[in-house]
């Protein structure tokens, strides 16, 4: 076993084998430790091909370098605790493809990835600015992680119903959006956005709402700034918009809007691209017909002036405790190279959108005009804890649904916009105290 592995390694470095293995020359530079093995932990698949292609790419890495890699898949809610245990005990996986904020929480336990991040950036048209924000340690130029993908949350709507409501295209401004939703409600196809404790969809809608009105949780110096004129405007708008929603959205969890859209109960919601494909590829004819009528658009833009939406981000990190740092770095670089990355991006129908600008040219984005809007997820994305640092407090405020509940309490009529904003400020300050 070890002999054959070394054989491959030597072969990979040699010129003769270079012809057989097209990736060999690049790999040879990486200086991979002899006898290296790697363990990788990542979130479990959300779209079917995700896991299969990730494994294929990993096998290709083993073939090219001789480094055996074991990939473990953790449930989405288990990933964060497992990352924390890995970081704290200095044992377990060498690489974790973790959630957005996690590399920033464990930054002092991570290998510097600056060289490979810069190399990848140069090769593939540069990183999107928000990808840099996620990859670099706060206020430095040191890369601590490689953002691998983002799942955006633009509007998903029923094209024919929006046309019926008198809109040829999906409205780009807040007034138009409110008018559309009122019209849709009149026609019996109301809007539906999650306002329950839905960690993905609830935060997506409510953060968009606050951001697009020019509000934000904290300023550049991590001072809580949610209780602002802009936020109160956002909440007033939310109240008006809520009147047009299908009943029951205050109890909606992450899956509820998927169910409602699939059943043809709602005319517009917000979601990742996976929903479109699951409806379109449904074996049930009625559902598949809905798929033909679906389309996507960026969420409307308010005083903020440009599209903004939260995204679900996976962010890969390599730990200092690994015995084979070069192999780990090489693995991450390898997975982001075009041969592998494009296959994964395309295979997942663009579910994990590229953080490197060059992949915007990928075939997946011309494969179906309806999904093009997801291509620019990283251009629109803002991070949780915008405008401050990506840190623990931001993560906790998100997990505590502070923004979601601020919006929900106004929509439910339990609080005035002013009261709700003050309450959100009080709750956020609990975690942003120093």
């Amino acid at each position: 076993m070890s002999i054959s592995r070394r054989d491959v390694l030597i072969g990979g470095a040699g010129l003769a084998a270079g012809a057989a293995l097209p990736l060999a020359p690049a790999v040879a530079q990486a200086n991979i430790e002899k006898g290296a093995t790697l363990r990788v932990l990542r979130p479990t698949k959300f779209v079917d091909p995700d896991q299969a292609i990730f494994n294929e790419n990993t096998e290709a890495f083993t073939k090219a370098t001789g480094v055996p890699v074991r990939v473990d898949y953790a449930g989405w809610e288990d990933l964060r605790p497992q990352t924390a245990v890995t970081a704290n005990t200095g044992a377990g996986p060498d690489i974790v493809v973790g959630w957005a904020d996690d590399p920033h929480i464990f930054s002092d336990k991570l290998i510097d990835l600056t060289p490979i991040a810069e190399e990848l950036g140069k090769k593939y048209g540069g990183w999107y600015p928000i990808a840099e924000k996620y990859g670099k340690k706060d206020k430095t130029n040191q890369w601590i992680s490689i953002p691998m993908g983002a799942s955006g949350a633009p509007a998903v709507y029923r094209e024919s119903w929006v046309k019926e409501a008198g809109f040829d295209t999906f409205p780009k401004d807040l007034d138009g959006f409110l008018k559309l939703c009122r019209k849709l409600k009149e026609q019996g196809h109301p809007a539906g956005f999650a306002l329950g404790n839905a960690v993905g969809d609830g935060n997506a809608f409510c953060n968009w709402l606050v951001w697009t009105h020019g509000g934000y949780m904290v300023d550049e110096n991590n001072k809580v700034a949610i209780n602002s004129k802009e936020t109160i405007e956002a909440l007033k708008y939310a109240k008006a918009l809520y009147e047009t929603f299908i009943p029951g959205t205050l109890s909606w969890l992450d899956i509820s809007n998927n169910k409602a859209l699939t059943a043809g109960e709602i005319g517009v919601t917000q979601n990742g691209v996976s929903l479109y494909f699951s409806i379109k590829n449904s074996k049930d004819e009625k559902t598949a017909a809905i798929g033909k009528d679906l389309n996507h658009a960026t969420m409307p833009v308010g005083p903020f002036g440009r599209p903004s939406e939260p995204a679900l981000i996976i962010n890969a990190m390599a730990f200092k405790h690994t015995k084979f740092p070069n192999a780990a770095k090489e693995y991450l670089r390898f997975m982001m190279e075009k041969e592998q990355y494009d296959k994964w991006l395309t295979g997942c129908y663009g579910y994990w959108t590229q953080p490197l600008k060059g992949f915007a040219e990928s075939k997946v984005w011309s494969s179906d005009p309806k999904i093009v809007v997801y291509r620019d997820t990283w251009e629109r994305a803002l991070w949780s804890g915008y405008k401050g640092a990506i840190n623990e407090a931001a993560g906790t405020v998100n997990a505590e649904y502070v923004v979601v509940q601020m919006v929900a309490s106004v929509c439910a009529g339990q609080a005035t916009p002013e009261e709700a904003a003050a309450e959100a400020e009080r709750r956020a300050k609990r975690y942003y105290r120093t």
């Binding site: 704290n88 205050l250 109890s251 969890l253 059943a263 649904y401 929900a408 439910a412 975690y431």
Partner: protein
């Protein structure tokens, strides 16, 4: 050669007698027999509990170990409206659900104690809500309470036409609380019913015969024979039921995640939310530790209030 053999034989004998003596020693035997059980308890119960209590007094977060901060977590929780709501919710949830479970469970046990056709089959069926994994039944209830796809709403609106709109079970605080309590009662009834049924079967029929000869009616027989005879097992079942309900997590987490706007957060769900997804391990542990006094009180109440009766200790019941 011979000498060596003899020597080794004596050594062997000595060795054996030493071992035998050791195993004859009562203290040693007790220790060694207790060791596996005690080790399991210490490793898997005492240590995590102790660690949890320790964490409650630190500012540990996921990602870094904390420092001892005394009662700071508890003071901060005392001023936290969400935490206070969760305490009230937990008390309400536990008390109402326990009363419901006992009323219905006792009734069911009395019914099952009669001679019914297919008695064993019925008793087995009763257990179904209890043996189904909680998460599974929680998901079933989640569908039942769904604002768009609820079977109850469907029947009332589309089949019977008694209502015009679908019921918003989980979107408002009070309906959401009652819905969760109903689901919890449904889940808890079998445990109470089957345990009490076991208790009922130990009551000797001759007691009822004697009561009937004395002219007692059905209610009097229940009050003066069944209930007192059932008290000891009632106390145990009540204690367990209160503990299970108080620490319930799965139903609420799967159905509402504590929403709408924290109206249904229980201490257990809040502790998890703060501790794991929120990363504030210390604060999460503090919420969990705050449950301990309530649990101890509930246990003591049901133990002393119901179990320690004179008749149980063989004295006259005056």
């Amino acid at each position: 050669m011979a000498l060596a053999a003899a020597e080794s034989r004596t050594a062997y004998k000595l060795d054996q007698s030493w071992l035998v003596r050791l195993f004859d020693n009562k203290t040693f035997l007790i220790c060694i027999c207790l060791f596996p059980a005690a080790a399991l308890l210490i490793v898997f119960l005492s240590y995590p509990l102790g660690l949890g209590i320790w964490l409650a007094f630190t500012d540990t977060r996921i990602g870094r170990s904390g420092y001892f901060i005394g009662f700071e977590n508890f003071v901060s929780l005392w001023h936290d409206k969400v935490f206070i709501t969760s305490v009230w919710n937990t008390l309400l949830y536990t008390s109402v659900a326990t009363v419901g479970k006992f009323a219905l469970g006792l009734w069911l046990a009395l019914l099952l104690n009669n001679n019914l056709p297919f008695k064993s089959l019925l008793r087995a069926l009763i257990l179904v809500p209890w043996i189904v994994p909680t998460v599974l039944s929680a998901i079933a209830f989640w569908w039942i309470y769904d604002p768009q796809f609820s079977i109850i709403s469907y029947v009332l609106v589309d089949v019977l036409g008694w209502r015009d709109t679908y019921i918003d079970f989980l979107g408002q605080p009070w309906p959401a609380r009652w819905s969760l309590i109903a689901a919890n009662i449904w889940r808890g009834i079998p445990f109470v019913a089957i345990s009490l049924l076991a208790g009922l079967q130990t009551i000797s029929p001759s007691l009822y015969e004697a009561a009937m000869l004395d002219g007692a009616n059905a209610w009097q027989r229940f009050k003066h024979v069944t209930l007192p005879m059932l008290m000891p097992i009632l106390a145990v079942v009540l204690t367990f039921s209160v503990l299970f309900t108080f620490t319930d997590f799965q139903l609420v987490y799967a159905i509402t995640r504590g929403g709408p706007v924290n109206a249904t957060h229980l201490m257990a769900t809040l502790a998890f939310q703060r501790g794991i997804p929120g990363g504030q391990l210390g604060e999460g542990a503090a919420i969990a530790v705050a449950m301990i006094p309530f649990l101890v009180m509930a246990t003591l109440f049901s133990y002393f209030g119901l179990a320690r009766r004179k008749w149980q200790q063989g004295e006259d019941n005056d």
